[in-house]
Symmetry: C5
Subunit: 89 residues, 5 copies
Amino acid sequence: MLVGTVIGSLWSTRKDDKLNGWKFMVVKLTTGSGFVGRDSLVAADNAGAGVGDTVLVSVGEAARISAENTMVPIDAMIVGVVDSIEIEE
Amino acid sequence: MLVGTVIGSLWSTRKDDKLNGWKFMVVKLTTGSGFVGRDSLVAADNAGAGVGDTVLVSVGEAARISAENTMVPIDAMIVGVVDSIEIEE
Amino acid sequence: MLVGTVIGSLWSTRKDDKLNGWKFMVVKLTTGSGFVGRDSLVAADNAGAGVGDTVLVSVGEAARISAENTMVPIDAMIVGVVDSIEIEE
Amino acid sequence: MLVGTVIGSLWSTRKDDKLNGWKFMVVKLTTGSGFVGRDSLVAADNAGAGVGDTVLVSVGEAARISAENTMVPIDAMIVGVVDSIEIEE
Amino acid sequence: MLVGTVIGSLWSTRKDDKLNGWKFMVVKLTTGSGFVGRDSLVAADNAGAGVGDTVLVSVGEAARISAENTMVPIDAMIVGVVDSIEIEE
């Protein structure tokens, strides 16, 4: 899974109607001892996340498993709001 | 999902005929507070996008779920034209 | 999907025999306004591509969907030879 | 598969309840002769790993196959604690 | 698919027992006109590869298709030992 910070939201009216009802959040992937490689991504929200929250994101089929809907064309899902990360490098 | 800008189109006559009927657009992935890592990709269009539009792209099986056709050999689909992105860094 | 140029071929005798019959081509992924991130990959060919051709490559399950064979251990397939790419940046 | 070192743990109370019961570990992907590209990721643990362990991580559907639960929205799983890696460059 | 050189082996006793019986090899992904992006990965071996061999690696579900075992939590498989690569840049 990926960890990142919710930095904003995305709206789209002209879209695949199978996406209706989902909130889309812009998640900036944590860097440093976190998760580099890809700067940000858009994830649907399944944990009631808000801007500023640190979140856990599942990608691929796992996103649709979280949605409990195999027919939603989503490939990234916020599956948790992170309480804490303990790093012991 | 990925966000990017449609910067062009791609045509291919000599192709897998299961791809027939789909429009192929070149999508430059947004950088900065957006989505870096991969510069661009080609996505089929399922939202009526045009050059210059900011679009939402689903990849992998989600692309075929959007197409409602599990037998189309597509791995990236434009699933929405973005109205707005609100960033609150 | 990815776009690249066929720059060569790969031969393997000692291989999973489920791969028998497929031609393996080395595809250098286009950069610049194209597709950066991964330099090249090997794709099976399902569009009659040759060295020097610009090609469209589908990855993951889409490769096996193109092959119409879910039991072939292929994860990248040339699904089209590109006629033209029109970029309007 | 990926190889990395467990550098910490992650807790999330407000999450998809299908994730309940799983321990989430922060894995820093080994670099040098190891595995660069993505700095770290979060993986569920299916091998009894602890901080400081070198671990083998499977991603995608393989993570859920290890969990023997196709309905858990996990995309990365620690599937082994590494005894040794022998490199003969 | 990816191409790389087998540079070593990995052993893990404390692992998911569904992995038992598989040999795990460290594969350094070829660079230059080859395959950059990710430095190395660990792949199970389904082609009798040895250290120093140039190998063809399939990732994702293709790895389990090669294994003919959908219940093995493997996401990368050596599916061939490469005889030759002909590059005509």
